[in-house]
C-alpha cells in the first residue's frame, strides 16, 4: 500500500458515550466497527463476502425525545411568561435551547437500530441510530458486497413453502445475544 494512502473511509453514524465513541469505517474488503474508550480502540470486522443481511428496525426514540423536549420547553416557557424578575432572561434562553433541540431532533429523522448478520453472528451497528444515516450506509455498502458476493438472483427472494423454512430452522442460526427466544418450526407450519 502506498504511503499516505487512506485504507479506511469514514461512514455516516456515530455513537457517543461517556469518554467513549463508536464509528463505522469502510475498508477495502470489510466494514470496520471501531469503539474508542479512554486510550484504547477495539475493532470488529465484517467482511463483505460474509455479510448475509442487514436488518434495520425503526424505533420510537425520536418521538419519545421530542415529547420530553416539548414538555421541558412548555415548562420553561410558562415559567418565563409568569416571571417578572431577572430569571426571565434565563428561562427564555432555556426555552430557546430546548426548542432548538426539539427542531434538530425532528429534522434528523426517524431513529432505528441496525444489525448486520453473518453466518456466525448478528451484531448491532451501534453508531447507526438514525434511519437516514443507515440508508446512506447501506447504499454505500451494497456495491462492495455485490462485488464480493455477486448479484442476488431474484428467484432467491420468492417465498418458499413453510416446510423448507422449518428445515432451515433446524440448522444452527446466528442470533442476537439479547434474544434467546426462537420461534419453533411448529409456529410456521400451517
Amino acid at each position: 500500500m502506498p504511503r499516505g494512502e487512506k485504507v479506511y473511509r469514514r461512514l455516516p453514524g456515530r455513537e457517543a458515550g461517556f469518554l467513549s465513541y463508536s464509528r463505522l469505517w469502510l475498508g477495502p474488503d470489510h466494514l470496520l466497527l471501531a469503539r474508542t474508550a479512554f486510550f484504547s480502540e477495539e475493532y470488529k470486522r465484517f467482511y463483505f463476502r460474509d455479510i448475509q443481511a442487514i436488518v434495520t428496525r425503526r424505533t420510537e426514540h425520536r418521538e419519545i425525545l421530542n415529547l420530553i423536549f416539548a414538555f421541558i420547553t412548555i415548562v420553561f416557557g410558562v415559567l418565563a411568561v409568569f416571571t417578572d424578575s431577572g430569571w426571565r432572561a434565563f428561562l427564555l434562553v432555556m426555552t430557546g435551547i430546548f426548542v432548538f433541540a426539539l427542531i434538530v431532533n425532528w429534522l434528523r429523522g426517524p431513529t432505528c437500530v441496525c444489525h448486520v448478520r453473518t453466518a456466525v453472528q448478528t451484531e448491532e451497528l451501534s453508531p447507526l441510530k438514525r434511519f437516514r444515516a443507515t440508508h446512506k450506509l447501506i447504499e454505500r455498502l451494497k456495491p462492495n458486497i455485490e462485488k464480493a458476493q455477486g448479484p442476488l438472483a431474484p428467484e432467491l427472494l420468492r417465498p418458499k413453502p413453510a416446510v423448507v423454512v422449518a428445515a432451515a430452522l433446524s440448522e444452527p442460526a446466528a442470533q442476537p445475544a439479547s434474544h434467546a427466544s426462537q420461534p419453533s418450526a411448529n409456529d410456521l407450519l400451517p
Partner: protein, 191 residues
C-alpha cells in the same frame, strides 16, 4: 439456507419481507423492519478441504503433519503446509505459527482487535495541566507526555487515523511546559 429473524422478538422473517423499498412489519411484534439480504444468506458454507495422506516416498510432506501431503509453502517462513495447516489471510498463505507470531507482533493489521492510542494518552497528559487548577502537575505530566511521545513514536496507532499530529502537539506542549518550569526554577534560584 440460513434464516433472518426479527431483531426485536426473534421471529423468523419470510422472503416476502426481503429487499423491499418500504418498511415491512414483523408478523409477531409488528416492529417496522427493512431487511436487506445478500447472496451469502442463500449459499451453503464451503466445505473444508481435507488434508491428503502421502502416497509415494518422494512427495513433500507437511512440516506439522509428516504423514500429510504438502500443498504449498508458508509465504513468511517457507515451511511446507498441508491443506489443514494452510491459513489464508488477505490472499497470503501462512502457517499457524507465523499467523500467531504476526498477530502478537502487530504485523498483521487485519488481525488486530485492539490498539492502545498512545498519541491520545500523550496529548491528554500534555493538555490536562493547562487547566488553572492542575498546572502544578505539569512538573510530572510534561516529562511523562514527552516520554510516551518519543517511546511510542513508531508504535502502531489507531487503524483508522494515521497522522502523527497528536504526538507532535503533545511533544510541543510538553517541551514548552518543561521549558517554562526550567525558566521558573532558574529565576527562583537566581533571585
Amino acid at each position: 439456507m440460513s434464516v433472518v429473524t426479527c431483531t426485536k422478538c426473534g421471529f423468523v422473517l419470510s422472503e416476502a419481507m426481503f429487499n423491499q423499498a418500504d418498511w415491512s412489519h414483523c408478523p409477531s411484534c409488528s416492529s417496522p423492519l427493512r431487511v436487506e439480504v445478500f447472496p451469502a444468506l442463500f449459499s451453503a458454507p464451503a466445505p473444508a478441504q481435507p488434508a491428503q495422506l502421502l502416497v509415494s516416498e518422494g512427495e513433500a510432506s507437511c512440516f506439522y503433519h509428516p504423514n500429510k501431503k504438502a500443498v504449498l509453502p508458508c509465504e513468511t517462513c517457507g515451511r511446507f503446509l498441508c491443506a489443514l495447516c494452510d491459513v489464508e489471510l488477505n490472499g497470503q498463505h501462512l502457517c499457524p505459527a507465523c499467523l500467531a507470531s504476526g498477530q502478537r507482533k502487530g504485523k498483521l493489521s487485519n488481525l488486530d482487535n485492539r490498539r492502545v492510542l498512545y498519541d491520545s494518552l500523550a496529548l491528554t497528559l500534555a493538555l490536562t495541566p493547562l487547566t488553572v487548577v492542575l498546572w502544578p502537575f505539569s512538573l510530572i505530566t510534561a516529562p511523562a507526555a514527552l516520554f510516551i511521545a518519543i517511546r511510542y513514536w513508531r508504535a502502531p496507532g489507531s487503524l483508522v487515523q494515521r497522522t502523527k499530529t497528536r504526538l507532535i502537539l503533545a511533544m510541543f506542549l510538553a517541551v514548552a511546559q518543561m521549558v517554562g518550569w526550567g525558566i521558573g526554577f532558574w529565576a527562583i534560584f537566581n533571585s
